[in-house]
């Protein structure tokens, strides 16, 4: 693959005495959408946390944009353009929509182009523009997910990692969100997606990894993976 943006090398991680990830290696190429799928508890979220720096990896390296960023704290990674939209949205519920977006642009690299990014997010999600003065806790689930993605975009990401975007959302909203991601992909944004809606995720992706038991089970193009029975088994148990 040409132009690797994120190179995760033999990552191991866990909590307390429990090791959850073993020797996970994956690559995300510039301008592409990469998907990470796997069963509940397979270690997807742990992998993202270790990459972003919310937990410190026990072994391995995270190389981003050619530099080793393994030990950098999360906020410093944002400064370099490595941005996570976490599972469960994790918004600032007591703050307004606009303030949430403003916080997204907290990093120095993003603050300069605040207005530009704000326009971009509002263009992508007009609903957020309508509700910019509303407290984010009062938004519906779908709007909150839009805001979470919007907040991630405000950070001016080089790579946007999105964890379980469609969780608990009605199909029509999921559809809207995937359309938005498609637009972003069209703009050239690099995306790493963790998603349980395999059909939609694979439809959008250029490359996919399957994680099981804290290890990379297999990888390949989505079209190829979708037809392989062992994928259906590892992921869906079907």
């Amino acid at each position: 693959m040409n132009d690797v943006m994120l190179d995760v090398v033999s990552l191991g991680a866990g909590y307390g005495e429990v090791q959850v990830l073993w020797d996970v290696s994956l690559r995300v190429s510039r301008g592409r959408v990469t998907t990470l799928v796997g069963a509940n508890g397979a270690g997807k979220t742990t992998a993202l946390r270790a990459i972003i720096g919310s937990i410190s990896p026990r072994s391995g390296h995270v190389v981003f944009g050619g530099a080793d960023v393994t030990r950098l704290p999360a906020h410093a990674k944002v400064e370099r353009g490595l941005v996570l939209v976490p599972e469960g949205r994790q918004l600032f519920n007591a703050m307004t929509v606009e303030e949430n977006l403003e916080m997204g642009a907290f990093s120095r690299r993003a603050a300069r182009q605040f207005a530009h990014h704000l326009d971009r997010v509002f263009a992508l999600f007009p609903r957020l523009a309508e509700r910019r003065r509303q407290l984010c806790g009062t938004l519906s689930g779908g709007e909150q997910q839009m805001l979470a993605i919007g907040r991630g975009l405000m950070s001016n990401p080089e790579l946007l990692i999105i964890d379980e975007m469609s969780l608990g959302l009605a199909p029509v909203l999921v559809h809207q969100l995937f359309r938005a991601l498609k637009t972003l992909k069209g703009d050239g944004l690099t995306i790493l997606l963790v998603e349980q809606n395999v059909h939609l995720a694979f439809a959008l992706s250029d490359h996919a990894y399957v994680i099981a038991d804290g290890r990379v089970f297999t990888e390949g193009s989505p079209q190829a993976l979708a037809t392989r029975p062992e994928i259906r088994r590892a992921y869906l148990g079907l």
């Binding site: 704290p73 999360a74 600032f92 519920n93 007591a94 303030e99 907290f106």
Partner: protein, 286 residues
């Protein structure tokens, strides 16, 4: 009859200062879940800072305000790194214990240096007299300053990038880190800000009343009541909580023996807590 109105006015004036005193405590509590038991000592530090500054320089007491803000901030930063930083994320009791320990040290040092005797910073400003009742100029100015400072704090928290970052950290520390906010630095800043507020409120109190090294206890206890009335972690609400407390004191006085006011105050405190744990003026919080 006008006596009651006078008591209401007095309650509002002094209540604003109570509110300011509680603001630092509630800010720290709200942002990092730390019950800061050095709060009373910080208030006393502000009192003595005013005493020393006016004594040494002969300046107008109010000219000392910027120096006390800066000094309080520095002391707050120091305390954060000494006693609070390691407690973040540990059970809430631990920070309570560490600040309790530091408070012992501070009170011990204060007693060793100044004893527990009386100190007074003479300030005279023309007052306002209505019928037989006079409202001292110091009280009016202190209330105005408390209001202005509360307004500044509000403007800071809701209008500036750093202020919003503090609110973001209070709201969801994990998410704040994820959007690129250096949370540890923000926490230390918020603690220092809370400490500076406590010092400033101490300074204003010192312009109103004589004080001793041990005066902090009473204000710390009052601050707890104010926080409950004003809403947890809601610095702007603290001003209203303080005024509410001042009003309770002012309004109850004409109607009952003074010594029963504390019974009313704490009865109300517990009742409000049990009925509305978030406080009367609680804003929406997650």
């Amino acid at each position: 009859m006008f006596g009651i109105i006078a008591s209401i006015i007095d309650g509002v004036l002094v209540g604003s200062v109570y509110g300011l005193a509680a603001m630092g405590l509630t800010l720290i509590w709200g942002v990092m879940d730390v019950v800061n038991l050095t709060h009373g000592s910080l208030i006393v530090a502000g009192m003595f800072a005013l005493y020393l500054l006016t004594d040494a320089t002969g300046l107008s007491p109010y000219a000392a305000l910027p120096a006390i803000v800066v000094g309080g901030f520095a002391v707050g930063l120091f305390l954060y790194w000494i006693a609070v930083h390691r407690m973040i994320g540990r059970p809430p009791l631990m920070s309570l214990l560490s600040t309790f320990s530091v408070n012992l040290v501070l009170v011990g040092l204060g007693t060793a240096v100044w004893g527990t005797g009386l100190f007074n910073v003479p300030v005279s400003l023309p007052g306002l007299t209505l019928q037989r009742f006079t409202f001292p100029g110091t009280h009016i100015l202190a209330a105005v300053l408390a209001g202005v400072l509360a307004g500044c704090l509000y403007a800071f928290l809701y209008g500036t990038r750093l202020g919003k970052a503090i609110r973001a950290v209070a709201n969801n520390r994990g998410a704040a880190e994820l959007v690129g906010i250096p949370t540890t630095r923000v926490l230390s800043f918020a603690f220092a800000l809370g400490a500076a507020l406590a010092c400033v409120s101490g300074m204003l109190i010192a312009t109103l009343f004589p004080f001793t090294v041990l005066s902090g206890d009473a204000y710390q206890l009052k601050s707890f009541v104010v926080i409950v009335l004003g809403g947890f972690g809601n610095p702007a609400g603290a001003l209203f909580g303080g005024i509410a407390l001042g009003l309770v004191e002012g309004l109850a006085t004409p109607f009952m023996p003074v010594s029963w006011i504390l019974v009313i105050e704490f009865g109300l405190f517990v009742a409000v807590l049990v009925a509305r744990p978030g406080g009367v003026f609680a804003l929406r919080r997650t």
